[in-house]
């Protein structure tokens, strides 16, 4: 996977040095001072908040882009899932980095699930997931439940695509977090709305057998 190059940070204008201050003509509009970009901030900052509106518009365009290139709902979900995987590997690195001295590499299944449920969710959405369950039907299948997923807050799915859940992006993120931590798995997002939480989403995590052999 290739990492996109970072945009060059604009250099500070030389006019701000005191030597040239007296030569500046105020009637000529000077370019605004370069604002601190997201790349200038320290990665260690605990709170990296972004605008929800900006995210919602970008995500809306991303869904439209994927939708126009997909022939059915499952392909659209797959494309959203792939988008999320690029995010997931970085989210894991960032979250562990921010833990600082308390950082720990999880090697066991339950602590890893707990880590995703609490810490990864907190990095992404500023709150832990609502609950976690073990599947009674299949071995190595777990469910992480979010009552109000942030990414689908403003999205009304039309009736003819009722099985679509745009939280497939988050499923992709979770899948790649687990895979990057050496827990290969498949994650899918399913809408299971209740009267109280119409957007309730269940992320089904199905680990591969190799995880069981190791544990």
């Amino acid at each position: 996977m290739s990492v996109a190059p970072r945009p060059a940070v604009p250099a500070k204008p030389s006019s701000s040095t005191p030597n040239f201050a007296h030569e500046r003509n105020d009637s000529v509009s000077t370019p605004p001072p370069p604002q601190q970009t997201v790349y200038d901030r320290s990665l260690a900052r605990k709170r990296g908040e972004v605008s929800l509106s900006a995210f919602a518009y970008i995500f809306s365009e991303a869904v439209q882009y994927c939708h126009s290139r997909s022939k059915d709902v499952s392909e659209l979900e797959h494309r959203l899932n792939l988008l999320g995987r690029h995010i997931g590997v970085r989210v894991l690195e960032l979250t562990v980095l921010r833990e600082g001295k308390n950082a720990k590499r999880e090697t066991r299944l339950m602590p890893m699930l707990q880590f995703v449920h609490t810490h990864i969710w907190r990095t992404l959405f500023n709150r832990p997931a609502d609950s976690m369950q073990v599947s009674t039907e299949e071995q190595l299948q777990y469910m992480i439940i979010d009552h109000r997923p942030l990414v689908t807050e403003y999205i009304s799915v039309p009736r003819d695509m009722s099985q679509l859940n745009c939280a497939a992006l988050v499923a992709g993120i979770v899948q790649s977090v687990f895979s990057a931590a050496q827990f290969p798995c498949k994650v899918t997002a399913h809408s299971m709305g209740t009267d109280e939480f119409p957007d309730r989403t269940v992320y089904v995590v199905k680990f591969e057998d190799s995880v069981l052999k190791r544990v």
Binding site: S53, A56, Y57, F59, S60, E61, V63, Q64, H67, Y154, I155, S156, V157, P158, M161, C166, P198
Partner: protein, 137 residues
């Protein structure tokens, strides 16, 4: 019940959303008539922006008072019109219409499945609108 009815008009004058909130309101016989009312209002609004003795920009018709109800119109920078029909005692209608505009920008504009200038069919918009209108005194 303050707010009786809400119409949203596209910039071309087409009716893209209509909902009645008042209890036991009379309906028009034909759903086409709602489109006609919207188109007519759009034209009247366009006329009123021109009928202006001062040589300045006019925002056009803002409110229309009748014996039993009042019609308020909010035109956005993009040409969209929010028409809110209330009873005559309703106060702070500008807050109501700008909040409806806010709900529209959240639940319609951020929805990837909505096509611009088409009728609004977003269940989350309906839900948010219902929830807000029920809190309006």
């Amino acid at each position: 019940m303050g707010v009786l009815s809400i119409f949203i008009l596209s910039k071309a004058g087409g009716l893209i959303y209509h909902k009645d909130f008042g209890f036991g309101l009379k309906k028009l016989n034909n759903s086409n008539d709602y489109l006609v009312i919207a188109g007519t209002f759009h034209s009247v609004h366009a006329l009123t922006t021109r009928v202006n003795p001062l040589n300045t920009h006019s925002s056009g018709l803002l409110t229309m008072e009748m014996e039993t109800c009042t019609l308020h119109c909010l035109q956005t920078l993009t040409g969209l019109k929010f028409v809110v029909v209330t009873d005559n005692n309703q106060s702070n209608v500008s807050v109501v219409s700008s909040t409806i505009y806010e709900i529209y920008s959240d639940y319609v504009m951020k929805n990837p499945f909505y096509t611009l200038d088409m009728p609004i069919r977003c269940h989350k918009f309906d839900r948010a609108l219902n929830q807000y209108i029920s809190t309006v005194e």
